[in-house]
């Protein structure tokens, strides 16, 4: 198996994804990612230099890419009280989190 993905790369990805891997989780993750990336390397067999990436499924299904915009009118959104009931920590109006800025 190739070593495309190193421990350092996995740690960098962990930072990007806001996921912390324990030392026990790191080695298996490196191994699994390498196995999967080896497998997906098969895609390099295909010459796609003249192929546009497909991002919007509506391109294919006959709807065309129709940018249907709704009228620019304000309307009630979610009920704040109902939403805040789900908050781990709140003062009723805001979501409370650990301090971001040290003064």
């Amino acid at each position: 198996m190739s070593e495309k993905v190193t421990v350092e790369a996995v740690q960098r990805v962990a930072e990007l994804a806001h996921l912390e891997l324990t030392p026990e989780e790191t080695a298996p993750m490196v191994r699994d990612l390498n196995a999967i990336l080896d497998y997906v390397a098969e895609l390099d067999e295909l010459d796609t230099s003249n192929v546009t990436p497909l991002a919007q499924m509506s391109e294919l299904s006959g709807d065309g890419i129709v940018a249907v915009l709704r009228a620019d009118q304000t309307a009630p959104s979610l009920n704040r009280a109902v939403v805040m009931e789900q908050a781990p920590e709140t003062d009723g109006a805001f979501f409370k989190v650990p301090k971001v800025i040290e003064r």
């Binding site: 993905v5 098969e42 509506s58």
Partner: protein, 484 residues
Amino acid sequence: MDVAETFTQKPMSLAALSAEIAAGRTKAADLAATYYERIEELNPRLNIYLSLTKERALAQASKIDAMAAKGNPLPPLAGIPVGIKDVLVVQGVPSTAGSKILQGYRPPYDCTAVARLEAAGAVLLGKTNCDEFAMGSSNENSAYGPVRNPVDPELVPGGSSGGSAAAVAANLAVAALGSDTGGSIRQPASFCGVVGVLPTYGRVSRYGLIAFASSLDRIGPLAANVRDAATLLGVIAGHDPNDATSSPAPVEDYATESDKPAAGLRIGVPAEYFADGLDPEVRAAVEKGIGALEAAGCTIKPISLPHTKYAVPTYYLVATAEASANLARFDGVRYGYRSADSGTLSAMYSHSRDEGFGAEVKRRIFLGTYALSAGYYDAYYLKAQRVRRLLAEEFLRAFAEVDAIVTPTSPFPAFKLGEKTGDPLAMYLADIYTVTASLAGICGVSVPCGATKTGLPVGMQVLARHFGESTAFRVARAVEAAGI
């Protein structure tokens, strides 16, 4: 059957049940109570339901009974007990997406598809178990324990909509809603011996589906027979202003369309789906199904879809990349699990996510983040998006020559719990026949098509072009009628 215990039971058809309810011979409230009794008896063993919505169900059932008593015309799903996969939100009802990170979460809004079922009179029994965030092919990635296949409880029901498929197979619901991103309705339907529908991308609103991969996710019905599945699709399909990707294409009367004979339809059989790795008993059963289609007057045409082998790697780059973005919202701030005593905001994010997500979810977030990161985006994500176009165009060319394409739904029947959990890649390869349709946006149905010698269900997958659900249903009905 060779198994020690089995819990399968065929639900009554929608037509029969609706007649009973309309005539007042069966009260919707009694029917719901009967289902709850059966759930109480079987759920400890099968782990199909994560939560029950008894008050809501009985209130709806009473409403229906009152309408029936007055002789008022009843809506199309009046009194019909349904299960809802736990990635579909219902206001005020626990929705976990099979994850610890949403344990206790009660959504503040309703999934459009679920709201449409209820508006049609359906009785919501509860939320069904699933792989965490719909990521899995066996329902073994649920944070709340695996679902057991009612056919044989030592086997997996398939995934990620394992709970919904098992609910119908065990008659713990007459029908259910699931979601399908890479095969998650079709494959468990085939493992459990029920019908599962993959609607065209955009056919059913995704509003209220906890997102996994936004260009792949679809909500769809599971039922005990093709006509019922078609009826359910007709109820949930249609444009929704809350989903910018939902299609304005008109909704056909799928149930009536499915009554039309399949004679005269051209059926493509792609060589690539009948090659190495296909279990010989699955092949034999599906070939019998193809024989039945020929006997029904269809023209069978061998075709080739040469890019098929690139579908799994393409899928696991596109889906994981999109998942890494969609799951970024689970950060402990606004809802769901927040890790205690984190000190800093950054630590709160990573501890909450690390403690709340399971191993497979983390693996996919890692893979997706890597595929999107600077220096790798072109080689992985964009490359996959280009191959995706090639796969989709290959289907479009095929559908110029044939009306439907039939394949096995899965290369093998239901496997034993624990058999594939040690090797993520082996599990991913279980999706080999289903991810192609997912990537192309086309529609399909998995219909029961015989069984192995030990009685394990086999499913045939019927694929049709975008918005060609009616054709898929016609072909599926013909296979069903043959009673393979």
